[in-house]
């Protein structure tokens, strides 16, 4: 994505991120929306309930008693052939975890918007990626949006790819930073979306006139193959996604086709390359501009898709870098951040292995500003292998005084 885009158009509306996503969902015309509120997602289902109540959206809007039930409702609806949507955050996603793994195993193309938020305890309502990474291994495709426009578009493209490969989608967008921002976005119309997203046409549905069971039970001689089939569908989804971003561009004019839709880069051939997910990449772009003006050759590689993992794409995008800095809003206690570990694993059998330094930042909504990103660029430039475990990852925003019993 180029930083200086065309002027904002009259087509765009300035509205809250959650409302914009809800209107995008409306254009996809879901048959069923299940809803249980949680900050900072609530605005999404609240807006959808309003659109249903006002007669603008003809969906079954089902209010449930928990997120477990919100996901389970989507499973039932999707198994019956419906296009089903819900949204959640944080603890809500944890409560959905069990039914979401089930949805993947049952091969149901449910699309969920996840307004990313940290997990308790201590309780925090603010953004990081701990919730999304905790669901990493379930068999759900996962996308990360950088701005409100992508948060809308990823949901629409999510339905398209989900319904072709029969897997659920978690479409991530950062809580508050993208849910509560007001910025211009194109809201797709239902006519445009009809051109891009055909009605769902499932091969198998639950139907009382033709009774069958889905996902009930598998003995050891069958279960492995069901899991392998998910792996195959995940890998196949990369081709479907490549075609999806291409056709999205043809219908809507917005171009997400770089690296077949898997990665988005900014000065991607620079000597030093940062890797990050989601909204922080916007702030990073501005800092990259500043450093490039001073003659520092630094760029950004942003995975748009986290599952399926962009393995080949990252090998190509990072292999020839002098050094890589991974800025991530999650970590795996007892090891290092999952994103850094995955990128290192991806490069292990690649031709080159640039030194990689990772930074745990922006946890639970801690603001990340330009000078902090600048310091991480400078530390990345100094990275060289070998590194000790202690050297390979740092927490540059740590408030040492607080750790040492300070009262601030």
């Amino acid at each position: 994505m180029a930083k200086a885009e065309q002027n904002p158009s009259d087509e765009q509306e300035v509205m809250k991120g959650t409302s914009a996503v809800a209107k995008g969902v409306m254009a996809a015309d879901p048959d069923v929306v299940s809803a249980y509120p949680i900050t900072p997602q609530t605005g999404v289902v609240e807006k959808l309930s309003e659109l249903v109540a006002d007669g603008q959206l003809d969906s079954e809007f089902i209010k449930v008693d928990s997120e477990f039930n919100a996901a389970s409702t989507c499973i039932g609806a999707s198994a019956a052939g419906a296009r089903a949507f819900s949204a959640t955050s944080s603890q809500g996603l944890k409560l959905m975890s069990e039914p979401l793994f089930t949805a993947a195993g049952m091969r149901l193309p449910i699309v969920m918007a996840v307004a990313n938020r940290s997990l308790s305890a201590p309780l925090s309502i603010w953004a990081d990626h701990t919730d999304a990474f905790a669901e990493r291994d379930g068999g759900m495709l996962q996308f990360h949006a950088e701005d409100v426009q992508e948060a809308i578009d990823h949901v629409l493209m999510g339905f398209r790819v989900a319904e072709q490969v029969n897997l659920p989608v978690l479409s991530n967008f950062d809580g508050f930073i993208l849910t509560h921002v007001q910025e211009p976005a194109d809201i797709p119309t239902e006519e445009e979306v009809n051109e891009f997203l055909p009605p769902r046409d499932p091969e198998f549905t639950l139907d009382p006139s033709d009774p069958k069971t889905m996902g009930a039970f598998a003995r050891p001689e069958h279960w492995t193959e069901t899991r392998y089939a998910i792996q195959e569908a995940m890998m196949e989804s990369k081709d479907v996604w490549a075609q999806t971003v291409q056709e999205f561009k043809e219908v809507f004019g917005r171009d997400y086709t770089e690296y077949n839709g898997m990665l988005d880069t900014y000065h991607g051939d620079a000597d030093y390359r940062l890797v990050a997910l989601g909204s922080i990449c916007g702030t990073i772009r501005g800092v990259i501009d500043e450093y490039r003006e001073q003659g520092v050759d630094v760029g950004l590689v942003r995975p748009r898709v986290h599952r399926p993992f962009p393995t080949e794409e990252l090998r190509e995008a990072l292999g020839d870098a002098e050094a890589v800095g991974v800025l991530t809003k999650e970590m795996s206690p007892g090891y290092e951040s999952a994103l850094a570990g995955e990128i290192k694993g991806t490069l292990y059998h690649a031709e080159n292995q640039p030194p990689i330094k990772s930074f745990v930042i922006g946890m639970a909504g801690r603001d990340v500003n330009a000078p902090e990103i600048g310091t991480m660029i400078e530390e990345t430039m100094e990275a060289s292998a070998p590194m000790t475990f202690e050297e390979q990852e740092s927490w540059p925003q740590l408030r040492e005084k607080l750790l040492n019993g300070g009262d601030q």
């Binding site: 309502i125 007001q182 772009r285």
Partner: protein
């Protein structure tokens, strides 16, 4: 890029003011962004909201630490909050008060402007909801937004009689500060 920070108290409409600023800037054909300082909002507690305008698409998502403009909705905050922290020396701080600028308790090299937005709101709305008056005063004091743009976004947001009352409050404050 123009960066704006709003200081108010929960319930005074700081977030709506930031939203209207962004929508009006968009109406003028520039890129715009608005967002609150994300907190657990409580009525009466100090709150902040931010807006940015730029000719280029805005990608910076960090909070506004070095604003060009500051809007203070409630002078009772001045005792507790350093409202001009990071404010550019050639910037402007707009304060909702009946006092003259030289009598406001703010130490800054930036320009200080005042408007009795609460009084204007009481006159037109019959309620002390002063954010649309402050929107007009900001536009009048900075020249960044036209009265036409303000009228368009206020009418779209409120509509009907309440919309008209808010437009009247906005125009009064605009004229008062730009005069």
């Amino acid at each position: 890029m123009d960066e704006i920070r709003i200081h108010g108290r929960g319930g005074q409409g700081s977030v709506t003011l930031a939203q209207l600023l962004a929508q009006a800037a968009h109406e003028e054909g520039t890129w715009a962004q608005a967002f609150p300082a994300f907190g657990v909002e409580r009525r009466g507690a100090p709150v902040e909201a931010f807006a940015r305008f730029d000719e280029e698409k805005i990608t910076d998502r960090s909070q506004v630490d070095e604003p060009d403009y500051v809007i203070v909705q409630d002078t009772s905050l001045l005792e507790y909050v350093d409202v001009t922290e990071g404010l550019a020396d050639d910037g402007l701080v707009l304060v909702n008060t009946s006092a003259d600028p030289e009598d406001v308790d703010i130490e800054t090299d930036a320009e200080v402007a005042t408007v009795d937005a609460t009084e204007i709101a009481l006159e037109h709305l019959g309620k002390p909801i002063m954010n649309t008056a402050l929107l007009g005063a900001f536009a009048g004091g900075t020249g960044l937004l036209s009265q036409d743009s303000l009228e368009a976004v206020i009418t779209q947001k409120f509509g009907g009689e309440i919309g008209e009352q808010n437009v009247a409050a906005t125009n009064d404050a605009f004229t008062e500060v730009s005069a």
